[in-house]
Amino acid sequence: MWCHTAFSGDRKLHFPLLADFEPKGAVSKAYGVYDDEVGESKRALFVIDKEGKIAWSYLSPTAVNPGADGILDALEELSKK
């Protein structure tokens, strides 16, 4: 996806982005955060533990960029276990 490459370059991201394009939204749907009405993924965060289970998740209101505080709190909780 050229737009992802451009976005990564502009924001200097150091991790790969998933297009989730074909079949469209398959991964987003698997996580239950696909918005059928507008045809795109909602903004959601997931922390997955080493067993591959979702340890924490957060669905952000539309158009609100979620900060990283919830992720860090969830990781701290995980490391206590």
């Binding site: 960029n65 900060g67 505080d69």
Partner: protein, 172 residues
Amino acid sequence: MSTLKPAVSEKDHTHGGQSASIEIVEFGDYQCPHCGNAYPIVKEIEETFGDQIKFIFRNFPLQEAHPLAFPAALAAEAAGVQGKFWEMHDAIYENQYRLSEDIFTELAETIGLDLDKFKEDSESDKIQQKVEDDFESGIRSGVNGTPSFYVNGTKFDGGVMDLYEMLKESAE
């Protein structure tokens, strides 16, 4: 709901009424154009509400996007050692349109700092640590862009104009 972590302490730079009932924390980046645009409005808020508001600035330099944001934050903190944090903070935003690596010494001279001490403090580990601690505080507090504002410890979902409106309404 994201909250401010850690709470405001004596390590922070504060402005306005020290015992005000409204405490506003801004996480800002000196090279961020949105912060530059917010700067005069923040000033207006401070002028309008005076001692009713205690205003705090924490550094949130987005180093990848803004290479001069971190050096600028160091300059402001180094000025703070000589009791002129806010003078440098204001001078940087007022000259944001012409930021460069060399500008900080010029601004330090303009606001009347001891230049040798300023240079020494700008390069010190302590000052670097302060900026990094501020940045980490922002991450832990859920900063999702700059500027981000916290009112009495809770993240304010909106820009500086929304903040101004909210304050005006609550003052009525």
